[in-house]
């Protein structure tokens, strides 16, 4: 069975978010909710939920038109429509009686084999399905999504004692491939895996910060980068998820966990936090939280709350001795460092890791699944058992003993061992009996991180590596800071171009960082501009152009496989590929104008070519030029891979992979498909209209400048862009080669880089990470 139609019941934030993700997968979805008392429009709840979906930030829909895939309805009129659904997911209020009543109604209309699931996080599965038919029971599971469903990758699934394996498999395949989720099967225990450990950890960190007298900044600096759980730090995370959520989570945990569970010791809510919630300081969605932005004096000042007094004051860079270089970079040193920072780190980590270990096998017997849940659901850099391996099992046990902590049995099982190991190129993890079992990847999952454990790179420099990923395909991985494209990466591309022909079939540009590439390393360009090294800068630009052009015309297929941001020079690398296989969450754009520049590694040329060759464009050269001009001059970035197709950053035939973990596999297959009878693209020639087009483009910009929507300097940049896209001093009779347009890009780039406002924009971006409007 395939899942083609999905029904979501409950149009709240979670329900509508799940519906949106189903729509993002290209499937039809029915969104139903109750009819509010006295409502004239019976669909009001679902309809307004869809309206909200179109506005919410970050966007729930990958494309506005996906909203049309969501059919709103209500539980009075549309109950019968549920018969169409292959999967019905219930996302209503956490009340057993209401859920049971709903299931009775569903049971009456659902078609045979239709899977039904609940998004509950507090009610036991056995209670939910009590009294329902065996067929219903066999097709019922809990599917626990995280908020927001589009972006949070974890999906916890709890099966019942009689769940039909085929139905379960159908559901898992759908959630994995179509919804892109990382699935972790859980036991039916309170909070499942992620929230059980996550809530315990957050509470522990909160209470320990209060107990040890740490400031908010200090606690976040310790829990953030050094421990990596997560990078925002604990208070930053609570501000993000909403401080008012915590009491609800705690209440439900305290209610359902046995009194012996260690959770109870960490379930207090400090008075200050209660007061913050009462006063509306619920985090980013409220007036602020542990941090707030104070705009009272005309400027934005980041402030933090004083945990002792409840007063806000300007955030300070923490100065604890434990945060100094050698300590903070070495987790073991940090955990044994004798100041309140070190004590906090140790206390939080010791308690959290012991608690995690004590929950096996209660919440699940697969430690890898537990680590995976924490990484996917709470954005931890390492799962709890990976963290223990990082500091060493025996070191951890010895320190726990020294501090009189009880040692969980699982930890004793691991004594003198590690939780994970590589044995004969097999990645293995410890099982409860002390043996190791091999961690197998799903079919169609290919991870560079796995390959990297077992292989040495074919080539490597400080910013990029070249890996063999099997079947004669190579993968070029960026690993510079923020994956900014620098001379080392260009050099690695050149190396790939030299070494692949005759040896290998093709190349994938892919990496597993949060962002594919944030752009060229403009720090180098800015520095060179500051020392007026114009010839060197021109050479840098030229070398980027030459490299990308060589990549485009290389005698083997190249597939770009982005995930996350692919901006500026990163986007340009994709535009030179034969094809793209993009992760659905790809944010692609030519954003150079934000730093006062224009794309000059062939970005203008390639985007113009794509729009010129677009079969659906109107006649004449102007529509293509206008479109490229609009996209580049407004630094348009796609909010998804789907949207990138609208802008031709992706072409119609490029592929989209929903599940991040399946991206490399799909990209590799694309290379192999292209490699059959591959011929490189022919050099492009364009006819461009010259000065008249430039004038026309500038006219449009002028009105933006006059109305204040663009600055004067935006106009200066746009004019340089207009010169490049219009072909400068030319007319339609002349044919522009790729080299001609590249020369125009270079000239405009250097012209802008010599200007003070461009240098100011560059500096501001590099220092603050935000664009400067000057």
């Amino acid at each position: 069975m395939n899942i083609e139609t999905v029904a979501v019941i409950g149009a709240g934030v979670m329900g509508s978010g799940i519906a949106a993700q189903v729509a993002n997968a290209g499937k039809k979805v029915l969104l139903l909710d109750r009819v509010p008392e006295g409502a004239s429009n019976k669909n009001i709840l679902a309809e307004s939920a869809i309206e909200k979906l179109l506005k919410v930030k970050p966007a729930a829909l990958m494309h506005k038109r996906n909203a049309k895939k969501i059919q709103p309805g209500n539980l009075e009129d549309n109950l019968a429509d549920l018969a169409e659904a292959d999967w019905i997911i219930e996302v209503i209020i956490e009340r057993l009686d209401l859920k049971q009543a709903l299931y009775k109604k569903i049971e009456a209309v659902r078609k045979p084999n239709c899977i039904v699931s609940s998004n509950t996080s507090t009610l036991p599965l056995a209670d939910l399905t009590a009294g329902l038919s065996a067929e219903f029971n066999d097709h019922f599971v809990i599917t626990h999504f995280f908020n927001p469903p589009r972006y949070m990758r974890l999906l916890e699934i709890v099966e019942g004692p009689t769940t039909n394996p085929e139905a379960l498999d159908t559901l898992i395949q759908f959630c994995d491939f179509a919804l892109g989720k990382g699935i972790v099967k859980c036991n039916d225990t309170p909070g499942f895996i992620a929230n059980r450990i996550g809530a315990y950890w957050m509470q522990t960190a909160l209470l320990e910060a209060f107990r040890l007298g740490l400031s908010v900044e200090e606690a976040d600096a310790i829990s953030g980068r050094p421990m990596g759980i997560p990078k925002t730090g604990v208070f930053g995370l609570m501000d993000l998820v909403g401080i008012d959520i915590m009491p609800h989570v705690l209440k439900s945990m305290v209610h359902s966990l046995p009194k012996t569970d260690a959770f109870h010791q960490q379930a207090k809510i400090p008075e200050l936090v209660t007061k913050m919630i009462e006063d509306g300081y619920t985090g980013r969605k409220g007036k602020g939280g542990f941090y707030r932005i104070n705009k009272a004096h005309g400027t934005k000042v980041k402030e933090s709350i004083n945990l002792a007094t409840g007063e806000y004051a300007g955030s300070q860079k923490p100065a604890l001795a434990s945060l100094q270089g050698p300590v903070v970079k070495d987790l073991k040193k940090l955990l044994s460092f004798d100041d309140k920072g070190g004590q906090f780190a140790w206390s939080v980590l010791a308690k959290t890791l012991c608690y995690s270990a004590s929950l096996v096998p209660e919440i699940g017997d697969d430690i890898n699944a537990i680590d995976r849940a924490m990484k996917l659901g709470y954005n931890w850099t390492y799962g709890p058992f990976e963290l223990i391996d990082k500091i060493g099992v025996d070191w951890f046990i010895a320190k726990l003993k020294a501090d009189n902590y009880p040692i969980p049995p699982l930890l004793m099982t691991a004594a003198e061992k590690t939780f994970y190991r590589y044995d004969n190129q097999q990645h293995q993890c410890l099982s409860l009996n002390g043996d190791y079992q091999t961690i197998s990847r799903e079919k169609g999952v290919l991870l560079l991180s796995d390959i990297k454990q077992n292989q040495t790179p074919i080539e490597r420099n400080a910013s990029a590596s070249l890996w063999g990923i099997g079947d004669g395909v190579l993968c070029l991985e960026f690993h510079s800071k923020m994956n900014a494209i620098d001379p080392n990466i260009l050099q690695m591309i050149a190396t790939a171009i030299k070494s692949i022909p005759g040896q290998c079939k093709g190349l994938v540009l892919y990496n597993e960082a949060d962002n594919y590439s944030v752009g060229a390393n403009v720090g180098l360009a800015l520095f060179a501009a500051n020392v007026a090294a114009w010839p060197q800068i021109e050479a840098m630009v030229k070398s980027g152009q030459d490299t990308y052009l060589a990549l485009k015309h290389a005698p083997f297929p190249v597939v770009g496989a982005p995930s996350g941001m692919a901006l500026g020079g990163g986007c340009e690398s994709l535009l030179h590929c034969d094809a793209i296989q993009a992760h659905a969450e790809s944010y692609i754009g030519l954003v150079e104008v934000g730093v006062g520049l224009i794309p000059a590694w062939g970005g203008c040329k390639e985007l113009l070519t794509r729009w010129t060759n677009n079969p659906r464009r109107a006649k004449g050269p102007m529509p293509a030029i206008s479109k490229a001009f609009e996209l580049i001059s407004t630094a348009t970035v796609s909010t998804s891979a789907t949207e990138a197709k609208d802008y031709l950053f992706l072409s119609a035939t490029d592929g989209i992979t929903m599940n991040r973990e399946r991206l490399l596999f799909d990209a590799k297959n694309k290379v192999l498909a292209l490699a059959e009878a591959y011929t490189p693209p022919e050099p492009v020639e364009l006819s461009l209209p010259g000065a008249t087009a430039r004038t026309a483009l500038n006219l449009a910009v002028d009105s933006f400048v006059k109305s204040g929507k663009a600055t004067n300097y935006d106009g200066v940049i746009a004019d340089q862009l207009a010169i490049v896209l219009s072909g400068a001093e030319t007319d339609m009779a002349e044919r522009h080669t790729e080299q001609d347009i590249l020369a125009l890009e270079r000239t405009a780039f250097i012209h802008l880089l010599k200007k003070e406002p461009t240098l100011d924009r560059l500096q501001h971006m590099l220092e603050s990470g935000k664009p400067l409007r000057n």
Partner: protein, 594 residues
Amino acid sequence: MAIFKAPIDDIKYLSNEFLDKSALQQIEEFSSVTPDLTDAIYEEAAKISETLLFPLNRSGDEQGCTLNNGVVTTPDGFKDAYVQVTEAGWGNLTCAQDFGGQGLPHYIANAVEEMIISSNMSFSIYIGLTIGAYNAIERFGSEQLKKAYLPHMVSGRWSGTMCLTEPQCGTDLGLIRSKAIPQEDGSYRISGSKIFISAGEQDLSENIIHLVLARTPDAPAGIKGISLFLVPKINSHEDGSLAEPNGVICSAIEHKMGIKASATCAMEFENSNGYLIGELNKGMKAMFIMMNSARIHVGIQGLAVAHAAYCGAVDYAKERLQGRALTGAKQPDTPADPLIVHPDVRRMLLTMKAYTEGARALSMWLSFQLDVSYQANDPTVKQNASELVSLLTPVFKAFLTDIGEIVTSTGIQVYGGHGYIRENGMEQYLRDARICQIYEGTNGVQALDLVGRKLTEHMGRNLRHFFHPVSEFLQQHQHDAALAGFILPLAKSFSRLQNATLFIAQKGLSNPDEAGAAASDYLRLFGLVAMAYMWAKIAHNIHYKKGQMPDEFYDGKLITGLFYMQRLLPQTGALLSAIMSGSQTTMSLKENQF
């Protein structure tokens, strides 16, 4: 005995003709300063240097300072000279008029300062430190402190010091131990030991105002827990009359290589009253801001002593008769020709002259940029000047004090054996100049400041204020045949500096040792190029805007400048090679192989 003559012509030329003062034309304090006025100031300063201070230079060196029961006695004549100099106001040219100063621009005051240092470096230290302390109090002190202390310091009745160094910490001030205990009235009690305190104790002024770095009991560890305090030697009443001593004791004075007439003291503070300057725990911030002017001051010391050595050497080379010119006798009626006929002696003299005059141009130009950074109306102009000064300060300090060493040592060489003996005074210059490479941050520390902080700050924006004007200057004059002798070498050395800068920026990012190993060579390269820029601007100025000086002066300038371009600037090639070789050899030798 070496003679001394103040460089009055060069100073007048630089001040009146060379310096482009347009950036501050709108500021009244500047437009009202006419060449007539400045010439009068320069001439008077030259006179006092030549006739009052220079005669005390060698006697002061011979006699030195003495310490008896905590009392320091300066050499004969110093007390009298101190009274004359301070009463004439030579110490307070830049001080605010509100406090009795003269409110003159730095470019003028620094030229005067050069002459005073040049004639007697030890003496100048007593004056210079008061200005340093004045600046810190004026900039960061409370109104109350300013009112109580500054007028007396400006008049010279009271003097000032900077108390940073302790036995366990010199460069690394984070290790400071001196304690400041807060009192109920908001003041502090300071206790601790300080060493190497110039003018810490003396018999010239009636009171001494010490600026002391110390930490309060609950201050954070390291550099972020240091505060700056004002601690008078003698407490005073509200009317400025002196009260009881404040527990500040000089326990020893150092026996030094040079500047022997300047008392370098070990100071004990015993529960002394102290008053916070600026914010608590932000003492280093105040110190960092003060360092620009203090380091420029030390750079000028290097220049000044170099000039003194040049005066002596030129005089000797013209007078001393030894051997015949290689091309035949130049003075057949004397038993031998003067030394100055010999190419190698001329090489030495021209090296001294080219470095010294180049340094003076740099000093005048940078001092004016300092004025712009304080006074300009346009905030962007002000900011840019401030960043330029911040970039060039370590270059100026280290390069000019290295020149001080090179030139004073060459001065001895010109004298031969007569330079090595004491009675001619040439060896004193080398001994005096040597400290300038060490104090106020050793030249190695300057180089690290340059590559580690000034280069990288604001993503390299500081560099823009130097590199862009030079690049534009080169572009404007690249085809100017009249200036070719200056433009081509400048262009070549400038591109070497650009390449070295990019190399260090790139390498230093991944490995700080690379930047560290290249730092001193890089600073020297930077200094040589900055000086070449000055010489090229001088050539341009003389070629297109010849002024009031005699032709002989202009010709001499151009020849000296060409000598610099042809004979000294080519070092930049060697420095670039050294820098580009990387840190490998520097860092790979194991400690036990040394």
